[in-house]
Symmetry: C2
Subunit: 285 residues, 2 copies
């Protein structure tokens, strides 16, 4: 499995990918899923790939071969054209491999995220489907995911805002989203590649690979575990009020029996709640 | 879509379900997905259903008919036997409907969570698959989900411990898990049904339906949004250090370019960080 993520805000892009590949359970391996095409001052293209490694490798090979000849992505005048160049390579490989795959019940399932900027345009973020057609992210949905997307999505839904989220914050959210996914699905795994692109930079200056035992990654994960539990602890409390049993069957329901009440700080809290507005009044709903 | 969740801890069970049903886009509707069979002092069975409403209704009809005749679940001597009774009903309906469904490319996809207790046994939690076979939860995996399970799972993975989590805490986690799912998938929707069962109670005493506009639910959701953002803000910070561009291609990577540093409290923080251990020393990794 794979989890890749592109975030776009008015400040630029954050691109992130895991590195777990398995071509069958016995071929579990590490593969870089982030690929870059850079002409400083002219264009930056960052590709994240999911799906059959064999097929995405073929697509990358075609794209790199053309790029080396100063064709394809090297000549794309806009990000949209770049997305179409990639889509064309996807279709070329589909033409070669799809029938043979489907004959044995494998799907041609390569999805690609493209983030980057071409001089004269703002940064843009696209998803290229296995059929080769491109989807562009919009300000209302300022991130795109491929692979195992669901576990890591709620934190993004709550945290990423095109107009507000800085690249530093977006990087933190990307790490948390990857980490949540790795925790819930063991087939998504480190190292994590992160690339941060600032609008109009037209070069790649921030890029890091976090290995499984990277102290920075472990620190972020440990603190996040603690912070989440503290956050839950300081939410309104649940209080039970045992009432006479409702009529058996489908109709028994009583608001009194499960109450949501303001959190009562206790000694076991980390003493933060007392300083910051958790009222001592019950304020029961 | 549906999202249902059963949590088991040494203190008892928390069962939760959404209520959104759609039989085609024009038949979006509200349906209770939680069903109870109770003989006070003898047994409590709580069923949560996902999949085709038509099929799960048929299964429930068979189970209720037998129960009214003092057969089936009414006679189950253990939770395992109860799970088998339900599995048998699943298979009966599959025998009636499966071929016709599959002829039109619909799957027979009813999944059922069974939680409850029979006198003389501890509370137990099962998942009954569409094929009728039962899976029991274990202490290491003290919750079971059906339907749209992924969005709401990370918070459970981090929060639920069989030996530690109280029923009050488990109820809070269940609400957060449902709420995360509703936020990321609009086809999972309120009202939310929550039932809390305390070990050896052998009756149903805590049960509540949270409507979409329930002030308690809104309060929990609003506070959780705030708490999550505060939690992220107080994590180690990301700091960029623009370094010379790495070699274009696949090899450029620099730990210096994306740094994880201890959080520096600012005025815009909620002033909690300063009190609780976020050191002012950089402590860069």
């Amino acid at each position: 499995m794979t989890y890749c993520l592109g975030i776009i805000t008015k400040y630029g892009l954050v691109m992130a990918s895991d590195s777990r590949t398995n071509a069958g359970n016995d071929h579990s391996n590490i593969t870089r899923k982030m690929h870059t095409f850079v002409q400083p001052g002219e264009h930056v293209f960052v590709l994240l790939t999911s799906g059959s490694l064999s097929c995405s490798q073929s697509i990358l090979t075609l794209l790199k071969r053309d790029y080396a000849r100063n064709q394809g992505l090297a000549q794309a005048p806009t990000m949209y054209d770049a997305a179409r160049v990639i889509g064309k390579a996807v279709r070329e490989v589909a033409d070669i491999d799809r029938a043979a795959l489907e004959r044995d019940d494998y799907a041609f399932n390569v999805n690609i995220i493209l983030g980057g900027q071409v001089k004269g345009e703002p940064p843009q973020l696209f998803l290229i489907y296995p059929q080769g057609n491109p989807l562009q992210s919009c300000e209302e949905s300022p991130f795109l995911q491929i692979g195992e997307t669901k576990y890591g999505r709620p934190i993004l839904d709550r945290g990423i805002r095109f107009d507000k989220t800085t690249l530093e914050e977006a990087t933190k959210y990307a790490l948390l989203s990857l980490d949540s996914t790795m925790k819930s699905n063991v087939t998504v795994g480190p190292p994590i590649d992160i690339l941060v692109y600032s609008t109009d930079e037209l070069d790649i200056r921030r890029r890091r690979r976090f290995s499984a035992d990277d102290p920075a990654l472990i620190k972020m994960r440990t603190r996040w575990d603690q912070a989440l539990r503290q956050a839950v602890a300081k939410l309104p409390d649940i209080r039970f009020n045992t009432v006479p049993a409702p009529i058996p069957g489908e109709n028994g329901s009583s608001e009194d029996s499960i109450q949501v009440v303001d959190h009562q700080p206790t000694d076991s809290d980390d003493q933060q709640a007392q300083m910051t507005g958790a009222r001592s009044k019950s304020d029961q709903i």
